[in-house]
């Protein structure tokens, strides 16, 4: 229960950081607030016993923070002129919350609240098949077959690169395409301007 309370506190912290990131005057302040939200997320990953995700989250957050600060630092003048209408922000957040609540109850709420519920309680993923209303999932098979099927000790890696390697291939393709997009958008502009200033 203590861990759950800590997770709730961290989620509230992340929400506050996200709102600050949206509303801050300075681009640098928003980048730092974004970083705070990311580090809180990595602590949450650790608390729910997902060290693989926590490592990746911390490292990605550090490099994104360095990158964004480097890009943003000397470009104060390009700070986007966001509207500071608190009422509008509040109404948007309220609308998001209402939509989420409608979706939650449209799917029947928590699974333990009746036969219509499909949203499993916290800590019991759908794939585990721990609750009666959902078909028994595949994650038990993954855990059982990790050692003899793949020989890996870390079952997360076994899922990523053996059971569901297609997903990893798709992920690698997404990264490849996004890096290509970065090259196409930024590199040519940078080169042209560099030649001009040289």
């Amino acid at each position: 229960m203590g861990a759950e309370l800590l997770i709730v506190i961290l989620i509230v912290f992340m929400l506050v950081a996200a709102v600050i990131a949206l509303e801050a005057d300075d681009l640098l302040s928003s980048v730092i607030a974004m970083g705070a939200a990311g580090f809180a997320l990595s602590v949450i990953d650790l608390l729910v016993a997902a060290p693989d995700l926590a490592i990746t989250q911390v490292v990605v957050e550090v490099i994104m923070l360095v990158l964004l600060i480097r890009v943003v630092l000397k470009r104060r003048d390009t700070a986007a002129a966001l509207s500071h209408d608190l009422l509008r922000t509040g109404i948007s957040l309220l609308a998001c919350g209402v939509v989420l609540a409608v979706v939650f109850f449209a799917f029947g709420g928590l699974a333990e609240n009746g036969p219509a519920g499909v949203v499993p309680p916290f800590g019991e993923p759908v794939l585990a098949g721990g609750n009666a209303t959902v078909e028994p999932g595949v994650s038990k098979d993954y855990l059982e077959q990790t050692v003899e099927g793949t020989g890996a000790v870390n079952s997360v890696t076994a899922v990523l690169l053996d059971f569901r390697a297609y997903d990893t291939l798709g992920e690698a393709t997404v990264i490849f395409a996004s890096v290509l997009g970065v090259y196409a958008l930024l590199r040519q502009i940078g080169r042209r301007k560099e030649h001009l200033t040289l």
Partner: protein, 149 residues
Amino acid sequence: MKQQHGMTSIVKNTARLVSGFIAIFGVYVALTGHLGPGGGFAGGVIVSSAGALIVLAFGRRLATKVITDEVVHVADALGASLFLLIAVLGFLTGAFFASFIPVGDLGHLKSAGTIPLSNLAILVKVGAGLLGAFLALSAFRLAGKEPSS
């Protein structure tokens, strides 16, 4: 043109000492991905952060003499092709992504079939890709620092 010289010599020497260890740690995280927490993606990001450290400390102009854009692009494409090659080699022995190497002893570095090889391919791919994006964004900042008007 202060950008050309990078940061002070303290930062430069520290980066020179540390960046190699950071890169080795990234390779370690990727290589032991099947034994403990970690994997190719996290390792690749750590390796690219070592490159980013060099770019930040020595300035982009000097750093791109060592880490040229061409090297980064070739490594990026090479990592992606290696991962696909492992998948296709598995296809030749059965199914797409089938593990064509014997499972080996549990808990050893050389075990788990093709998983360490895939981790290495993803390490090269992600590391080079993120480093390339970092270099491109550095050029973007260079361009933005001196407005043409």
